[in-house]
Point group: C2
């Protein structure tokens, strides 16, 4: 087998941890596998480097920030190569431009265009463990680019796809994907097997275990992802294409995005193009608008409410007032203490009533729902931030996530490789 | 003018220092010059990174060490680019592989083969200050290489040569090259103008102000080097081709290499090839043999004495005993407390008596000379380490170096560019 292992910052956070990772890599190789390792910067290192950059320039240039931040992973790959060699193994480090991981030129949030696995394949054929710097790539001009927070997950999956690896193991400091954040729900349960679409929703709704783009990339290329802990040998969570046996689980997990802010623009004319006129200037200053509702009045006017990340609130309000003077003259209300709690599950496709149950559970505890947004497999409610933990616990218990599902999801000991994958979207 | 400025670790050792360097770069540009900057890692950073590597592996692989160590300069170039931008200037960083600085594959002590200045020239033509990472290059396979301690000096001179720069300013934490180490000789004087050959001898004999290879490279390509302080605007020391007006200075400076060890191999047959038989295995384990004397006995046998760096003493003795068992059976004596004190000056070419004067000065203070080595422009004496500072002071005073030379060396305000340089070696 060809195994890609990605280790996050806490997994390589100290000399001892790096040695432990080296041992795991060698153990994998001794079982007869070809091993490619993607590593993040040591825990805290990226923040330390970016703090240095900001000490020089409050809003530093993204190209130069990338040059600085990419050194975190560069140190990690060198140290891990040394650790494997010190244990008698063969290892060689590869940087983004050496692999090479070709990206576009969006410096701080570059997207991978192509991965050339030739140098890695050559190393593997010589029995060498190839250690690849996560988070970084190079654009067509040879500039260093970085992939954004959590980008090493995406590096791992992209390399796994390019090398047609049999599995991409994402090592982290938790045992896998949980039905809710265990620090909020003590009875949260590790999910043995989760569909890639559920994982995508969870990742986009606040679960930090995998970068969204890595899940998208895994879906696109049929990469089998196994999220597991580098601190023990327990099996973790397999992210798998949606297949037959999982339909009986209604809700896979509960997640929560804190740090939401709510903006209401009052008394806006209810005409086509009004929303675009407001959201275009926001997009131009990099504010991502999330959940949106529009309350139509009797007089052909409406109140438009939407959420933005809390850190962007000031900028969003200032931009609206500067760029949409006519639209906002009815007034703008801003409130920065909201959270978005979501339940996610592919079972919702075939079962009605999840939304109703969710609203009932929240209402029973007196939690007011400010806004609602839904997709085929998730329901999100924007609520006051102070109720966030309570809501997660209520929903986790109310949907019975603390108990193991009654034999509905088979163990993922030998997940099949599905290429090409046919995902059934037909109602069941 | 096209100006290359190289800043050492203390010159970029803090946020404040980096800002000061940025200001200096911009001031140079405002005077109408094209500015290329080479920077070292922040002071202490390279040691910190290598300590991390050694915490993982006591004798770390040189390729991976280079990958780790090169991040020091990578952070520096990014930070300096940000600092220049924060002051309103245009700047862009370049790493060794981006320039590119092509080297051989001797990872920790690579030699520059070629510098491709095209990307830098393009940046300069756009009014951008080009900031190049010192100390690092890339081999033909795209591996990262490093140039050894002080390698950023060599990067600076190599880039200056490739770009046909009008001057290469080497910024450091001292005002220039001194007649002796000012911490040993309080009356040591800054040299305004030193010949490149004297500089080469001083650099190879313990003066740390410039890496030897940078001086060699400067001589080869006719690069005008100006060693000066980044902490003030004083003119420093110009390293210039040997030309007419400097012949009247007998001795330019006194320098001292501490950390010498002396090995004597007793009772060796005095036959051709014996020295080679001993020194080949030493070279193979990377021990550089320095000063050497051979005392011939009456019976066709000899004692061979030579010096090695103190840190290599154990390895040298062990290698001799293992590889040259027959030659060393007369016994090996090792002593690790020696120093080599040297006087350097092109004036020695045309004046006899410098050696005699040096021996007299040392003898007058009761300092015993263990070994002597000479070249056309220097005399070195190996003495007991405890006398090192005393010897430097005696020689500095004895050769009258505390007083400015009596108008013999003209000021270097407008050094001529000598390309190609014709250096007169005729006796005067």
């Amino acid at each position: 087998m060809r195994v890609v292992q990605k280790y996050g910052g806490t997994s390589v956070g100290s000399v001892e941890r790096i040695r432990a990772v080296a041992q795991r890599c060698l153990a994998t190789q001794r079982r007869g596998h070809e091993v490619v390792v993607i590593v993040s910067a040591m825990a805290g290192e990226t923040n330390r480097l970016l703090a240095r950059a900001r000490a020089i320039a409050p809003e530093p240039d993204e190209r130069e920030c990338g040059v600085i931040a990419a050194t975190g992973e560069q140190v990690s790959v060198g140290l891990l190569a040394l650790a494997i060699q010190a244990l008698g193994g063969k290892a060689q480090s590869f940087l983004g431009h050496q692999v090479r991981v070709l990206t576009d030129s969006a410096f701080a949030r570059a997207r991978i265009r192509d991965v050339d696995g030739a140098r890695i394949t050559r190393a593997l054929s010589e029995g060498t463990i190839a250690i690849v710097a996560g988070f970084q790539g190079t654009d067509e001009h040879g500039n260093i680019t970085t992939l954004g927070r959590g980008g090493s997950d995406t590096s791992g999956v992209a390399v796994a796809a390019a090398l047609k690896a049999d599995v991409c193991e994402i090592y982290t400091d938790v045992d896998g994907v949980y039905t809710a954040d265990p620090s909020v729900c003590p009875d949260a349960r590790k999910i043995e097997r989760i569909s890639d679409e559920e994982m995508l929703e969870l990742a986009s709704l606040g679960a930090k275990v995998l970068q969204i783009r890595s899940v998208e990339l895994g879906m696109k290329h049929g990469v089998r992802i196994h999220v597991r802990s580098s601190f023990n040998d327990n099996p973790g969570t397999w992210v798998v294409p949606e297949e037959g046996p999982m339909e009986e689980v209604l809700v896979a997990g509960v997640t929560c995005a804190r740090d939401e802010a709510k903006i209401t623009v009052l008394d806006v004319p209810d005409l086509p193009g009004v929303a675009a006129a407001m959201f275009k200037p926001l997009a131009e200053v990099g504010v991502v608008v999330d959940t949106l509702v529009q309350n139509l009045g009797a007089d052909g006017r409406a109140d438009v409410t939407f959420t933005v990340p809390r850190g962007d609130l000031k900028r969003a309000v200032a931009t609206l007032k500067a760029e949409c003077r006519d639209l906002v003259k009815g007034g703008v209300q801003a409130d920065d203490s909201y959270a978005k709690v979501s339940v996610v599950g592919v079972g919702m496709r075939s079962h009605a009533g999840v939304a109703t149950r969710m609203f009932e559970l929240l209402a029973a505890e007196g939690i007011n729902i400010a806004m609602i947004s839904t997709s085929e497999i998730k329901i999100s409610c924007v609520i006051e931030a102070k109720y966030a933990e309570l809501a997660v616990r209520i929903l986790h218990a109310g949907f019975g996530l603390g108990q193991p599902p009654a034999g509905t999801r088979p163990k993922a000991a030998r997940p099949r490789r599905a290429t090409p994958r046919a995902r059934s979207r037909a109602p069941r």
